[in-house]
Structures are given as structure tokens and as C-alpha cells.
């Protein structure tokens, strides 16, 4: 596709349920990042993929959060046993290489009720 695609665009889930958020990076981009944007706040780094490996997962807030990337392309961010404080916009970005411009998707707005 022409840009970074994220799905779903909106997700409402009940507290305690698991959710999966998907990111389709720009074709050929080897680096992929997940960020979280809480209401009125800046973006908070979650995890970085180079290819299928995650050399930096230091931003994952708890062991309820995990992510994987397969085929050097699609990535899935999974949040288990969701809590209300997980409500935020989850943004994915990709870049051709780690030190080049990062392009962001439109995000998934997660609401935990």
C-alpha cells in the first residue's frame, strides 16, 4: 500500500478482554515501531522491530503487552487482560532503515470500558 495501514481504526473492549492491533508497514520498510499516545499527551515509545527481531522492547509497560512481526512485514500488538489505563491511540510507524524518516499510520483508538 501507499502508506502505513493500521486496523482496526477504533476498538472498544471490555476490561479484562484481550485485544490485537495490526500494522501493515510500507512495503520494503525494515524498521517498524509501535508508539502509544494518551489523550493530550505526546507519543510514548513501546517497541522497535528490525526485520522480525525486536532489539528494543523497553517501552512495553507491562507483561500484558507483547508484539510480534512476521515475514518482515505485518506486526501485531497484543494487550492481554486490558485495563482502563490502556485506553489510548496506538500508532505504528515504519522506515526504510532505522536511521531514515519514519512514516506513521493513522493509529488505532482503543477504548477500554
Amino acid at each position: 500500500g501507499a502508506g502505513v495501514s493500521q486496523s482496526p481504526s477504533n476498538k472498544v473492549t471490555e476490561k479484562g478482554k484481550d485485544v490485537e492491533l495490526r500494522c501493515d508497514p510500507i512495503s520494503g520498510h525494515t524498521a517498524l515501531y509501535w508508539y502509544r499516545q494518551s489523550l493530550g499527551q505526546g507519543l510514548e515509545f513501546l517497541i522497535y522491530f528490525q526485520g522480525n527481531s525486536a532489539p528494543d522492547k523497553s517501552g512495553l509497560p507491562s507483561d500484558r503487552f507483547s508484539a510480534e512481526r512476521t515475514g518482515g512485514s505485518v506486526s501485531t500488538l497484543t494487550i492481554q487482560r486490558t485495563q482502563q489505563e490502556d485506553s489510548a491511540v496506538y500508532l505504528c510507524a515504519s522506515s526504510r532503515a532505522a536511521n531514515t524518516e519514519a512514516f506513521f499510520g493513522q493509529g488505532t483508538r482503543l477504548t477500554v470500558v
Binding site: 524498521a31 507519543l43 515509545f45 528494543d56 532505522a98 519514519a102 499510520g105
Partner: protein, 113 residues
């Protein structure tokens, strides 16, 4: 040392005026400083970026001023237009690590017609 502090939180400027947003950082290992523009419901988009070996970079109406000794950088929007109304984020990145972006908290700019 990872923090990037951004001010003001919000800014109102008349059409044709100059918008100025400031950021400060602590970590001297940062060596790439981008500014992102975000419209409601969209992901951030790279506006302009600078490296610490230059003190100023200009692209059209947008200028970054960089003061390495003070560890500060700012975005100037000349001849501000209503279409510039958006949230602006400064960021910083270390290029010897995961290349993750550390974001400021954002500035909501409103340009009045």
C-alpha cells in the same frame, strides 16, 4: 535524561503572524531532532528535521533554530495560516541505539483567520 520538554502547551496566533514552539533536552547523545505535525484523527507527519552540526534549517515557511550549548531547539512558522492549525511535536533520537523517537508533549496551534 530521556526527556524532551516542549512549550507552550497551546498557542493562538493571528493569520500572517509568527508561531514559535520551543523544546529542550537533556541527553547530549541525541543527534537528530525532527518536528512532526499532527491533524486530528491522523498520524504524525514529519515536517522538518535538523542535526546538531547546523544551527538553523529552513524549509519554506518552517525554520528550526538549534542551540547546542543550551540544548534547546525551536520551530518557527512564518506567515502562519489557518491550515497550519494542528498539534506540533518535537522529538529527539539517538542514532547509536534503536533509533526510537523521544517526543515532547505537543503544542496545539490555532491560527485565527
Amino acid at each position: 535524561q530521556q526527556q524532551v520538554k516542549q512549550s507552550p502547551q497551546s498557542l493562538i496566533v493571528q493569520k500572517g503572524g509568527i508561531s514559535i514552539i520551543n523544546c529542550a533536552y537533556e541527553n547530549t547523545a541525541f543527534d537528530y531532532f525532527p518536528w512532526y505535525q499532527q491533524f486530528p484523527g491522523k498520524g504524525p507527519a514529519l515536517l522538518i528535521a535538523i542535526r546538531p552540526d547546523v544551527s538553523e534549517k529552513k524549509e519554506g515557511r518552517f525554520t528550526i533554530s538549534f542551540n547546542k550549548s543550551a540544548k534547546q531547539f525551536s520551530l518557527h512558522i512564518m506567515d502562519s495560516q489557518p491550515g497550519d492549525s494542528a498539534t506540533y511535536f518535537c522529538a529527539a533520537r539517538r542514532e547509536d541505539s534503536s533509533y526510537k523517537l523521544i517526543f515532547g508533549s505537543g503544542t496545539r496551534l490555532l491560527v485565527r483567520p
